[in-house]
Chain length 771, copies 2
């Protein structure tokens, strides 16, 4: 019978039914009853040709399950058939049947699947990918990447490829890596490296029009981002010197101040620091206590630390290296407070001796970033001249009175702080870079490290285990999405610098805050997962993951605590929401929108709610629509809840508190939507046909992972039904199996120099030296 | 009108309606239309007394919203009224109306709430707790705990209070804390501390019947657990010496071997180590490559490292301090392999010099636990005498042939490894202890640290922010749950030692594996959240959180990688499941169960699916039933999916792989259910009436948090509807507001000595020195 049965498979009429047969017997949730039912359904299909019907009946005989050999032939036939399709149509094995069928057959197929029951069928089909994945174990993957790695790398680098390659040259030197050093030696080494970077002219990119011919900060931030694949203490010192310290002069200083100081800053002849946070006030900058009191007689400011809570703290460079500080202080003049302003205050002489009235201390040993000399500063009635005030937005006039270009103090404060948005963008990019390094190490290790396996068989690479794929590959996908999203943010920032007059920067600030929070949390979680996925090896400093974990940890805190940032994002969204409807009047509008939204869902998604076909589930438009729906819903409901509270005479602060969790969720949903949309828009530019399917898979895996994480929301909203939630899981499994084949190539495309990747466990597999 | 209106509130008939009025105006989702509808509903209620009806109508006049002053009076009245209730009935403000009402009024109330629409009403009520929380800002909490902290502490310590207090005495010495030390100095310090512990006799507790009169290991593990609030390098060295090294002799040795070695081990006269993991095989112990070849002529074993992948690695104590190692190796005799056995192998002489044929190296600088000298070992044909084989389960007979008490090699292997379950239990307890320390630091800091606040008002403690409560308090609740669960595990282990003959230890092993994974992941996540919640302060080593994060990180890896452990748990559950139905035959049973389960849900939960009242949501029986349902469902479906695959001729390994994600989820669900059940059973023993409500809240917050995390499952299963999911969120908010009031007292009840808590940020608030 065996030969007969396998021979039947050659009938071209049977092709569309092959996957169905395979899952029915191998992966099925099928009982004998089901097979009987299935077979009688086949018998009752008049439009089936006799040969096909006979073949199906034979293969569905409940009392004659196919042998292992027959199953192998069946699977081989499926693969042969699928090879006749174009790569595009082939990629989705689960839909293979439909792909091969004509209209009539498709109807028959649908009826058969129906007979299996919706849930069972989708369950069965989704396992095909898993079966494929485990099949590769038997035939180990060849050491060739499934696409051109350098083409993907070049596309990712985009318009900053040259700048990145210059930074890579620095990273490719094994001398530029260190670990496990005592703090003083590490700090000295980082200072030495920083001088090297300055000598290479990397700092000059920070001040377009002053120290470089760059037209914006794109090249500077791309440099920062690329360096962030290496030592993170170095990259933070780099950012403090050229970005925060120099940036404060560039953005808050007058033309005269810019020209006076910035070339010294860029060359590192003037090492500086950025003294904003105080121990009593980190997030709440408006409440800083350091005072700068105007003495009209001598035309000087008196900088003073009035209490211990006002000491400047965590100031990178303050403990040892900085000679000047940008100090944020309450400007007081004419007996009146004018709010926070920035002052250039010399703190050490050329020999590194502290100046009179300035006291400095060390912030102490930290979890990570110990190559940065974070310090504390106290000022005891330190006098600085009038021009120490960074005077772009405010100054003391000839008569000795305070004047500002921005009359509203609150607006002035936010304008000044807004100029510092580059710091947040930089942290977002560095987060993504660090996640890339961690994933490169963990994925390469997982593809080489073997453990356990079938009885009496060879051991399996970790990356062939579905549980291991699930730890690493969704995070790899998200890293790609965020990488393209922050690149877009960087270029938006460049645009803003070029169109300096444009004015309203709130959108840029909100997107920077949102992506900074999203990317830094992602980096922290990804690196921890990579650490754990590498087991005991991941715990050793030599394998880089411990330092990466410890260093990025503070990315969630500095340049704005993530939770605080998300609340700012939510407020900005609410303001925008209000504006959208200002003309039509606020009253009643939220309620109107709510009902409208509900209707929209019911109508538009009546089909989508239940669609579970892979085509739909991988459709980027479906993903983005779902992300948008979530953001909009959370925005509308947050607005409604807030408005009610405000109308009921509760003060704004209490109202915001009452909906705080809601606001945080809203801001995250916004960040999610933004990242996905920018990713989608970016990959639409990719014209390389071999890369597109991989970028599509990446986007789909990222989106489905997030949708599954928020499945409770979508289920409760009726946006999904249970079948769909089930199908998302299955489709995710299929995507994991597919992406596993390109995983090493995908991390190699990040272009991390070997000396920088460094971890011995990333170089274990002699078969895959560098693809 | 104002005076009139507030006067109306004094009417006793109105009491049940007060909360409704308050939320209608202050927290409401109400539109004017709603108020109109509400009022006409009131008008149409014949059973309302005229006075009450008038009062309600007045208060619900859409065009006359109450002033802020009136709202304040209304809220004060509610509080006054609630004060007349017993504390038990008072705790749930949201249900206050129902609490105060008689049957008829309750009906009226229900009708009114109905008029608001289900969703809106539940939304409104849930905000009362938030309002309470923000109110405490205005009147800061008094420095008195809401319950007797020492009573709770004593209850938590239970039968090991004396042992714990002895360990606390050690921890209370500031000399027993260190951070930021170079590795050699840190190792020396830890070695010194370890000698101190041995001198205190703590090691002797590890060998009941040999070196102590203890009847089981309860006291030893409680010592370990308590010490884990202090330096974690010390606790790991302590565990390696007395638990792993000594434990291998205690559990795998003959009586003669126990008596020969254990007193030297307990006194630390013989420092040892435990050489199991090899660099090529960590999780897969069965595949270790180190060989112990029997030489029948000399009656010796020849220990040998045949390849670099066979080097022993990460062996605590091997780099420097250990003089003897328990080495796990493949026993070969008569030209045949007998599997993994343990051998006592001297590695250094009394002067610390390596013995001939033994090579040792350092594993290198690690992420944490750098006070432990982890090392590598290679053996070059090292001869050890016959009695080096730990001979409880296997030995060489007089004729020079291998003999074992357990004929089946697989069973022998698992029996030997099973005796080491104490290590996993210890890691679970240490995880909980570390989480307690982190939470104590973060909660105490959050209650003292103020930032932002209402305009022109005082700054608010971080812990009054709902977002901050949500970061810390659910984790505090889970820590309590796990603390009681691991205490139960510890005592089950003790029982097993006492009933040594009992035999089947699989249940204990499975619960140890499940809780080890659950607790170590919980500790890692909790400590990271604590770190982030403390902002920049949390990044400083002086505040302990960085070292805690880095040290516990490896708890997820050693003593069994968590992901691997969960798969073992799942396999054990499947075996049990199979047994349950073995008599009735396997075929068809899963399907039967599935349909039965579905029916059970539909019938039993028809009401529960929609119940959203606080009484139900806080009901421990509801929580446990939901946890059980999830576990059972995942077990049944996993069993069904596996069986189908096995019947379809796929090999077992491939079948397990195909459902790997499912198995991991099942094992986690099992661990969750076990922890909650043991917590429930433990608190049933608490007879202190003032503590019970707090333990109830803790259990409820933990359970609701987990249920919300798995809400997608319950929604998809139809176990919840959307309204219920919504209600879970509201009830969680209410619980957070309530637990916030006892948060500092709850962490103080852990009884962490000040010198051990150590972090300066834990001692910021002069008003709460130690409650």
């Amino acid at each position: 019978m065996t030969t007969q049965r396998t021979k039947l498979l050659e009938d071209p009429e049977l092709r569309p039914f092959l996957p169905l047969l395979w899952v029915a017997w191998s992966d099925g949730d099928l009982e004998q009853d089901d097979l009987v039912a299935l077979r009688s359904r086949v018998e009752a299909m008049p439009w089936l040709r006799p040969a096909a019907r006979h073949a199906l009946e034979t293969w569905l005989a409940p009392d004659a399950p196919p042998s292992q050999r027959e199953m192998r032939t069946l699977l081989d036939t499926i693969h042969k058939v699928s090879a006749t399709l174009s790569p595009e149509r082939r990629r989705d094995l689960a839909g293979l049947g439909a792909e091969l069928a004509d209209e009539g057959t498709r109807r028959a197929l649908a009826e058969l699947e129906d007979a299996l029951g919706g849930g069972a069928a989708s369950e069965l089909f989704a396992h095909l990918a898993t079966a494929e994945a485990s099949r590769t174990r038997e035939a180990p993957p060849k050491p060739t990447a499934p696409f051109d790695v350098s083409a993907l790398g070049a596309w990712l680098d985009g318009d900053v490829k040259m700048v990145r390659d210059q930074a890579r040259t620095f990273l490719a030197d094994p001398e530029h890596r260190a670990y496990g050093l005592p703090v003083p030696e590490y700090r000295a080494k980082v200072a030495h490296w920083l001088a090297d970077l300055a000598a290479r002219g990397f700092g000059q990119r920070a001040y377009p029009g002053i120290t470089s011919d760059e037209k914006d900060l794109n090249a500077f931030i791309a440099t920062f981002e690329t360096l962030a694949m290496g030592d993170l203490s170095l990259v933070i010192r780099f950012g403090v010197q050229f970005g925060l310290f120099g940036g404060s002069i560039f953005f808050l200083g007058t033309e005269a101040q810019r020209h006076k100081w910035l070339s010294q800053v860029a060359s590192l002849d003037l090492p500086g620091c950025f003294a904003m946070s105080e121990v009593g006030h980190g997030s709440d900058v408006q409440s800083l206590e350091t005072r700068a009191t105007w003495d009209v007689v001598s035309r000087t400011f008196v900088l003073h630390t009035p209490a211990e809570s006002a000491r400047k703290d965590w100031v990178g460079g303050a403990a040892q290296h900085a000679r000047m500080a940008t100090v944020f202080a309450q400007l007081e003049a004419d007996g009146e407070g004018h709010g926070i302003h920035a002052f250039l205050v010399p703190i050490r002489d050329a020999q590194g001796k502290l100046l009179e009235g300035v006291r400095a201390g060390d912030s102490g040993h930290k979890m990570g970033l110990n190559g940065v000399d974070n310090g504390r500063l106290w000022f005891d009635h330190v006098r600085v001249p009038e021009h120490a005030l960074l005077g772009r937005f405010a100054w003391m006039n000839a008569e000795g009175h305070y004047e500002s270009a921005i009359a509203n103090p609150k607006k002035r404060f936010f304008t000044m702080l807004g100029t510092l948005v580059g710091g947040r963008i930089s942290v977002a990019t560095a987060s993504v870079a660090a996640a890339k390094v961690g994933l490169a190490i963990a994925v390469r290790y997982a593809s080489a490290r073997r453990q356990f396996g079938p009885e009496d068989g060879v051991e399996m690479p970790l990356l062939d285990y579905p549980a291991h794929q699930r730890r690493l590959l969704p995070r790899l996908a998200t890293t790609y999405v965020l990488s393209l999203a922050v690149a877009r943010l960087r270029s938006n920032f460049g645009q803003r610098i070029r169109d300096d007059e444009a004015g309203d920067t709130r959108e840029l600030e909100a997107s920077a805050a949102a992506l900074k929070a999203l990317a830094s949390w992602h980096a922290v979680e990804t690196l921890r997962e990579c650490r754990q996925a590498c087991g005991g090896q991941g715990y050793l400093l030599v394998n880089r993951l411990p330092d990466l974990c410890a260093d990025v940890e503070v990315f969630t805190t500095f340049e704005g605590d993530n939770t605080v940032l998300l609340q700012l994002v939510a407020k900005s969204l609410l303001t925008g929401f209000k504006k959208r409807f200002e003309s039509t009047g606020v009253a009643g509008i939220a309620r109107h929108l709510l009902s409208k939204a509900r209707v929209a869902v019911t109508e538009k998604n009546l089909l989508a709610v239940r669609r579970t076909d892979p085509e739909h589930l991988r459709d980027r438009a479906f993903h983005l629509a779902a992300f948008k729906y979530r953001e909009e819903r959370l925005l509308e409901t947050a607005a409604a809840r807030l408005r009610k509270r405000l109308e009921a005479n509760r003060d704004a602060h209490a109202a915001m508190l009452a909906v705080q969790e809601h606001l945080v969720a809203l801001a995250r949903a916004h960040a999610d939507r933004l990242a996905l949309q920018w990713f989608d828009e970016s990959i639409a530019d990719c014209s390389d046909a071999q890369l597109v399917p991989w970028l599509d898979r990446i986007g789909a895996l990222h989106a489905l992972t997030r949708l599954r994480e928020e499945a409770a929301f979508f289920l409760a909203e009726g946006y999904f039904d249970a079948q769909k939630e089930h199908a998302l899981r299955k489709e995710t499994t299929a995507l994991l199996g597919e992406l596993r084949q390109g995983a090493v190539a995908l991390v190699d495309a990040f272009g991390i120099p070997d000396a920088c990747l460094a971890a011995p466990i990333a170089f274990m597999d002699p078969a895959h030296p560098r693809w």
